[in-house]
Amino acid sequence: MRQNVWMLSAALTLTLMASTGYAQLEQLGKGHLSGSFESYTQLYRKDTAIGATPPQDKFGSNNFFKLDYTYKQFSAGIQYEAYLPAIQGFPFVSTKLNTTEGKLVNRYFRYSGKQLSVQVGDFYEQFGSGLVFRSWENRQIGINNALEGANIQVQPVPFLKLKFVYGRPRKYFDYANAVVRGADAEIDLNTLVKAPDDAAVHFTAGGSYVSRFQSYTGNMEDFPATVNAWAGRLAMDAGSFSLNAEYVRKSSDPHLVNQYDESTGKALLVNTTYTGRNWGANLSIRSLSNMDFRAEREVEGTVLPVNYIPSLTKQHDYLTTNIYVYNPQVAGETGGQADVFVNLGSSKLSLNYAQYKALKTAGKLFQQGDMAYFRDGSLEWKKKWNNQWQSIAAYHYVFYNKSIVEGGNYENIKAHIGLVNILYKFAAKKSARLELQHLYTEEDKGNWAAAVAEFAFAPLWSFYLSDLYNYGKTDLHYYNFGGSFMKNGARFSLAYGRQRAGLFCVGGVCRYVPAASGFTASFTLSFNN
């Protein structure tokens, strides 16, 4: 049945394309064809020192193939994925209970006109900042909650944009046993009141409604099979100053992760930025209470999110700064972060401070409790000395409540991190880079030292060696070395070494990765005609 629908859809696409004023199909060659292939393969070995236990066949490989074609207002595309099997720790469960599986998972057809856009098939969408709804893909983390259904966007009048979504969220190679539907309206207030284009202040307001239904077969009376969420937002931009706020409420949503808490979910997010001549700053404040929102009640981890709640902290780039990383406590937290960026010519400074604490009372967003979850302060100085030399030096202070972030019973951790990153360009296309890092702490596993050396021969080659060393307590070296080859839209890389067990975070979403040891090969290719 479904196959027929897709065949029909393909046939209609061609017919519609051929009927848009260009009779000849060879005109289709003038469209935009884009595609990509991504393969990530690991060959595991047993490494008892770091606790790495390889899977039975010592092999894991995640593969993605995607193709999109656009001609005039029409687009169509597919995505094929194969896990042969999935790499260790990657959240994938085969539908056929096989160890390996490949499937054509996403396909869509889209028409984008001036006032109307319609997409059927698998689609990604976000309302506001995503606090109430976001469907997206992150291949490193293993999130793909695309909705299969329809996404319709209409602009009936210039000041109003409406979005309607309806569909089943993707769950591994199948779909959730649930339906998500939503609507979003965004009003450009300046256009509404016919303010001039160069008005000093620009206002936008928006509202969203999202509802998910999963049938309930248990014997509790009045159990909410449908969960409704509402959000309102306001944005103001006055050139050098901007302010954004979003408030969300979610109806009673008892599920596994919130331990069947029946209370209402609430969230408030306020962002403000200021930019001067040579500097900029921003401040984000966010409070959450019972905001874990999933398509199915029984899932956990990174599976089937409906909304998106990233940790609003500095996103770290280095081996030692990635040891104590915050994971937002969606059950309840309050806090925020501030950034300052300064341009001093050849020197650039950036400062960040983030802090999150428990709520004093569940459900009361503005009452801060005593228990601290996380604190992170950092100062980074980047300096370009001349055309050959540039450097980055940074200091970080971290307070990490390990019991809360990772679960379990641990002491709180206070760590100080210092690092330098030096780049030396010794010829027009040849460079060397050296990173030296140290993390000092009296708690947990004690001190860590790290070094990275990289040699690059532009445009094609780059090689690196790195070591992350936990000395004093475990005396373990997490060494890695490898190289990569890049040409046009293709990149191939090969590495050998050890991967530390811990939270692996990309884009503010984390999953736990097990300790691993062995070879990693990756290949990515993109093309656009």
């Binding site: 999109d68 606090l131 259904g149 780039d317 650039k348 445009p459 046009n488 990515t524």
Partner: protein, 165 residues
Amino acid sequence: MILKKILGLTVAACLLNIATSYGQENFPAVAIKSTSGRSVDFAKLIGDTKDTAIIVSFWATWCVPCVTELDNISDLYKEWQAKLPFKFLAISIDDARTSQRVKPFVTGKGWPFEIYLDVNHDLKRAFNINDVPYTLVIKNNKVVYQHVGYVAGNEEELFEKIKAL
């Protein structure tokens, strides 16, 4: 069944809308946002420039090689522009976690580029980009060069390509 109904409605709506549509370029009509929050159609942004080369660089505030690349190009920007005018669009793929930092971050860098935001990766997906940094050169509505990754010295290669167009 639902899909079939939706499909039927779609076709009807599309046919109805075709009459009122204008001639669009072949790049996907994807909405991205300016740093002041205004929605911009990428296809129109590209379509307006004709035979001026446009460099489209996908980057993120948390990506060290991306920031190094843009810093290095920023230093050479005036010199390059004097030799050969081109347009430079820096598309941030920072999502809701870090997108609010983009504007102050760019001010703190003093970059001369046109900055846009692609918060839910609609444009990144349309161009099938897996990793950042990713650079595309578009001329006369065609992608004429693309490159993934950055190591010091790649900017020389990029400028050589633009000069050779």
